[in-house]
Symmetry: C2
Subunit: 574 residues, 2 copies
Amino acid sequence: MAQTGQKLANGSARIDFSTDPSRYRHWKLRVDGNVATLVLDVDEKGGLFAGYDLKLNSYDLGVDIELADAFERIRFEHPEVRVVLLRSGKPRVFCAGANIRMLAGASHAHKVNFCKFTNETRNAIEDASAGSGVRTVCVINGTAAGGGYELALAADHIILVDDGSSSVSLPEVSLLAVLPGTGGLTRITDKRKVRRDRADFFCTTEEGIKGKRAVEWRLVDEVAPSSRLEDVIAARSREFAGDAEHPPPYPPPLAGEGREGAGVALTPLERKVSLDRREYKYVSVAFDRAARVAAITLRGPETPPPASSEEMVRQSAAFWPLRLARELDDAILDIRLNELDMAAIVFKSEGEPQTVLDYDIFLDRQAGHWLAREIRLKWKRVLKRIDLTSRSLVALIEPGSCFAGTLAEIVFAADRSYMLIGNPDGDNRPPAVIMLGDANLSGTLAMSNGLDRLRTRFLGEPEAHDKARRAIDQSLDARAAEALGLVTFALDDIDWADEIRLFLEERASFSPDSLTGLEANLRFGGPETMETKIFARLTAWQNWIFQRPNATGEAGALSRYGTGRKPEFDTRRT
Amino acid sequence: MAQTGQKLANGSARIDFSTDPSRYRHWKLRVDGNVATLVLDVDEKGGLFAGYDLKLNSYDLGVDIELADAFERIRFEHPEVRVVLLRSGKPRVFCAGANIRMLAGASHAHKVNFCKFTNETRNAIEDASAGSGVRTVCVINGTAAGGGYELALAADHIILVDDGSSSVSLPEVSLLAVLPGTGGLTRITDKRKVRRDRADFFCTTEEGIKGKRAVEWRLVDEVAPSSRLEDVIAARSREFAGDAEHPPPYPPPLAGEGREGAGVALTPLERKVSLDRREYKYVSVAFDRAARVAAITLRGPETPPPASSEEMVRQSAAFWPLRLARELDDAILDIRLNELDMAAIVFKSEGEPQTVLDYDIFLDRQAGHWLAREIRLKWKRVLKRIDLTSRSLVALIEPGSCFAGTLAEIVFAADRSYMLIGNPDGDNRPPAVIMLGDANLSGTLAMSNGLDRLRTRFLGEPEAHDKARRAIDQSLDARAAEALGLVTFALDDIDWADEIRLFLEERASFSPDSLTGLEANLRFGGPETMETKIFARLTAWQNWIFQRPNATGEAGALSRYGTGRKPEFDTRRT
């Protein structure tokens, strides 16, 4: 993180997104039958960077990396879990939100990427509910302020203790001159559908709202007196876990497939990290620092898909689609947070396209199996993470590549794609092809706007979408892929190297900020959803505010918070 | 404009939004039967501010004020017009977009408000098409760059001359490190539905695209050789004006109601402007500069509605709903651009609520009449302008007020509303009531998200919407309005003055930027449309970029444009 001027507290040069419960410093994960409990008990001295204490269960990126990991593990390692209880391990405080001194000291790029990751984590909590029927119940015993309440908003059900002091609040505007930018404003209006004038009152009331009014205004789902709290939690757990009257939306795993401990252990990723390379088993990342380009190569499977779901479970974390998804996710996050200077990510692939498609077909056939479902949902999240990555995304489809089915989504996620026609002299790898599968057209891997990438791509030409459907399972060479509108340009070997070099040079010469804005607009044609509103309407405004002297200037509210000095505002409205 | 540090070229202290064709410096409006021609022929020396020349048909706010006025006049003064031709009066250039030296010299607040107004003007062009069946055909003979092409994108049909040099382009990213922020990116993806990778190519290609490729990529609708241009224009005009085969979506005005010259003249607004007041016939604005509050008082009609549509036409611009809408629009724009220091706008009203509702009922009954339709559409635009105004909006509903029907929309547009219970001692005006009418629930005055304000307000409680419907035509006192969820707070006389004073003081103490972001989120719960995407996703990103040193810093691209010095970029991605 030398680039952002802040030093990691552990002395490392890079933020590491991999962790496991044995290394958590801030969360405790306990699984008891079909109920998991996640207790937030932040280690004040465990901040990711030096220079601040994580008081009052406030969080930084390090705390959120553990939360994201915990939800991944619940879904893969404990598929029997139907309910997650989010609780605080501290008295009188649920969570004070993002640590303010951390925010005040962070670079703009870190603030923005921190918020993006925390947003993705909260979306993943909702994805566990919508996709896997894992209901999250948040228990607020004490104060849930700012990001603390925003975390609660990601849950399916919020229980607020009715003790005269426990409260929910969004004091960002009044205290810090910034927004509740981790989805707070959008979930207030679009998920909990709080009346807008009440939302206005709530979001400008530093002390927040408690008790019955919080229920009446739909800020929480119920209140419970301290004396009855554990009974209420138990009742809700039973209800959300499902019984005859309230069956869970997804059946629990079959006997032998989802008993406690029968999930799939998310073993540590094997990575070799050097200055200019990251090497995983199925992913390689190479940094060209002069060109400011990160090249990610994805490798296809070495063997055909397993013959049965049992065999898939046996392969566990080594199962190709799961391992690749985890490695790719880690590589993307690494670039996002640790390699700010990379202008573009170039995606390449190596492997046998038909085998990649065979894995997709296997997952389709096993769609009723919890592990197949979780792997698909994981890919959906990873692909969304790519859509939301603020680097120019380029796919190069070359001889020997395997952009088929799920991997072809990366081509459609890219801002541009280039495909080589035929083979260069002396290259005897199979010529470049793209293969489409059901995964590209079924909604399984939909973007956060709710549409498949191909559907978004062909908003203006539905007939092109139909043609793509008819091309399923075919090996589409460069000319065919271009004719179907699947790639931007099909190029001869004569033009290939120069075209791509010139394009990448030009891209690197543009202002990174204007590209961030451009790509955030062009990637999301068509409908907006609560999720896209969070990343567009809400986040773009927050990023603007993060640049405004009233918040982050020397006399701004974020900078002066806790100093005893009042902020000074330029009073002109924009 | 002393507040923004830039001097108006005409020596005035305020930007004036009222104009008429006799005063246009940049546009020529010609009406010939049912076709109007608007020729852009910018007076280089006619810039609104000193310090730049409007070369190559580039524009500033002054040019756009005339364009907005021209479309208003076409709709009200020439209701027979079915087609508007947008053309350039200069050789080899259609329009070079927003003037860059103007942008480089403008304050952040002016840039943002300039873009907001130009966006509203382009939306109004589309509203004329959707609401009134007035089709706009844009003829590009020369280059249409940046904002020039964005203007074309607002048209229903774009004709590009195929002469080997005429082209469309969005060079903002490559030349200026900003976005095509006047709707360009959103209209590319959501209106013209250009494939996203082609859009990426187009938006990073300084020289733009011409000829057949522009048609193939859906950037324009057709190309025409210079030799055939006038024939093609004539053919399209006939087609869009409607014939037996292509009837216009709205029937032309009846004989006697819409002959040329039979429209309603938009006579100059009568205004008295003093330092702290603006006085119109039905609108008063009072500025409390210490409190940073602008109070707008709206006055109801003095007489009952006319007995017939003929009488409405005879009253013409003096007809109360039309006159009030024009005055209110002018007052809002004045505050937006000239009174940046106002933190809040407080709306009050005076009049007879039943009479206000009677005018609504009159307009409902005359819904098939072109003038009634245009007045409703005008109110829709004015109310949207209020929704998009970046000031805290407060409605005070007091004895003697007339927030009924269309005027009640202002209560629902407000961030908060306060209603007085009963009367203060000695006040013998009628106690405060709200009255609902069909206009509040029929979609006629929908927000830019496509929903009525009450529908947006009650997203979470559809039953409240039904209750509101049942309360139509009733005089709802403070307790009843509060029970129906129509106002935020109903207050006794004892609390009234203090509560409101404290609220306004608190509001003025917050960071203006965080309030802008807060309100832009809370006002737009629910669905997004192309229009809201322009004001949220696109504009919020553009505003962010307008704050970034890569664009507007000393070495930024916008600042250095035309100086011969290359911009210097911080290469870190955010």
